[in-house]
């Protein structure tokens, strides 16, 4: 007699499939028939056992609880969501940059006073930039550099009087040929 049928083949036979050869083996092999009968009996018994139905209002309660727990979850980030922190940081930088040099509202009828540093030439045309950079030794400016604000922030933070004093000093030094 050929070897017994495999579990896989027995499942096929249990489900009404299998080849004619396999069915022929089953007809002639009491051991395989017994295994199949046992499996069929177990399947029949197991199929009758259902899960007790929960109370009618249960499903709404389940959905409510799932909704509540999902609401407690952090916001989902989309594919580009990782850019959000960078975008927020960039927005802060722009806002700070725009707010630098901001002055209180000018009374009506009075010509607005330009900030002192607005008289300075562009950086690439400023022959005095080396001197201004020398001020970096000043403690306040060092702090500015260390905090990443740099030269522009230092100049922007000067009052009108300080700007005039700086301009005068630069002119004097230029006249004395030190530049």
């Amino acid at each position: 007699m050929a070897s017994h049928l495999s579990d896989r083949t027995m499942t096929d036979l249990l489900e009404g499939e299998g080849t004619p050869e396999q069915r022929a083996h089953l007809a002639s092999c009491a051991a395989c028939r017994s295994r199949l009968d046992n499996a069929r009996a177990a399947l029949e018994a197991a199929s009758k056992v259902d899960v007790p139905e929960p109370p009618g209002l249960y499903w709404e309660a389940l959905r409510r609880n799932v909704r509540r727990r999902i609401a407690e979850e952090p916001e989902r980030r989309t594919r580009w969501g990782w850019l959000a922190p960078l975008a927020a940081a960039a927005a802060v930088v722009v806002i700070v940059a725009l707010s630098v040099g901001e002055r209180p509202p000018t009374p009506a009828g009075v010509a607005p006073t330009l900030p002192a540093w607005s008289a300075l030439p562009p950086v690439e045309e400023d022959d005095n930039l080396a001197v201004v950079s020398g001020f970096a030794e000043e403690e306040a400016l060092v702090a500015d550099w260390e905090e990443g604000r740099g030269l522009a922030a230092f100049v922007a933070a000067l009052s009108d009087q300080e700007s005039e004093a700086l301009t005068m000093a630069l002119r004097v030094e230029q006249q004395e040929g030190e530049l």
């Binding site: 579990d7 896989r8 177990a42 197991a46 259902d50 389940l62 959905r63 799932v66």
Partner: protein, 204 residues
């Protein structure tokens, strides 16, 4: 009472998907739209998926823990995990298959924690045609059989539950369990044989 209910198994739900819709998107299209909305973070869309699969997931969990309280906790956990992971769902399998996989993993984790069983849900719909003594006897048989299923090795139990009670195809079971169709068939038959032995040991 453990008489089979008329609750449609998953394939019936899927079969309904194929029926032509008179108006609006088909259930399957609606499911796809809900999944995409969930990926965009729209929490309300997930409710549709919960409505659709809550019964199947609850019943799957109940099969593992054999009591309502734990099945309820587990079902919530399954949906929460699905929400967290839905961004990674690529549609390479059916959503139901993916959800069942999360469910099986959650159930296995729960069993690994070995929590003591909570009180079982009382049977709610007694069959008026059956006497009290017979009802008690049937309930007892059902309890014994559920416990016997619970004593099967993990893969055999998962295979039996998905195949018999959720009516998944061999291929779907293989996808859920990360296995092959051949292994699923072997586990099913082996599991049924073991179940028969366990039932005999407990006096059936």
């Amino acid at each position: 009472m453990d008489a089979p209910t008329s609750t449609p198994a998953l394939p019936a739900v899927l079969a309904a998907d194929e029926a032509p819709a008179e108006t609006g998107p088909s259930p399957r299209e609606a499911e796809r739209a809900a999944i995409e909305a969930c990926k965009r973070g729209e929490r309300e869309a997930f409710d549709q998926l919960v409505v659709r699969y809550q019964r199947e997931i609850y019943r799957l969990c109940y099969r593992y823990v054999n009591n309502h309280e734990d099945a309820n906790d587990l079902a919530q956990e399954v949906f929460l995990r699905a929400w967290r992971a839905i961004g990674r769902f690529r549609g390479q399998s059916a959503f139901s298959t993916w959800l069942y996989r999360i469910g099986i993993n959650a159930c296995l984790n729960f069993r690994a924690a070995r929590r003591p069983p909570a009180q079982e849900l009382p049977e709610t719909i007694p069959d008026p045609g059956v006497g009290a003594a017979e009802r008690v006897e049937r309930a007892e048989q059902a309890r014994r059989l559920r416990e016997a299923v619970g004593r099967l090795p993990e893969k055999q139990r998962a295979t039996l539950i998905l195949k018999i009670y959720h009516d998944l195809t061999h291929k779907e079971v293989a996808q859920v369990l990360g296995s092959t169709v051949g292994t699923v068939k072997a586990n099913l038959f082996h599991g049924l044989g073991n179940l028969r032995k366990l039932m005999a040991e407990e006096g059936e």
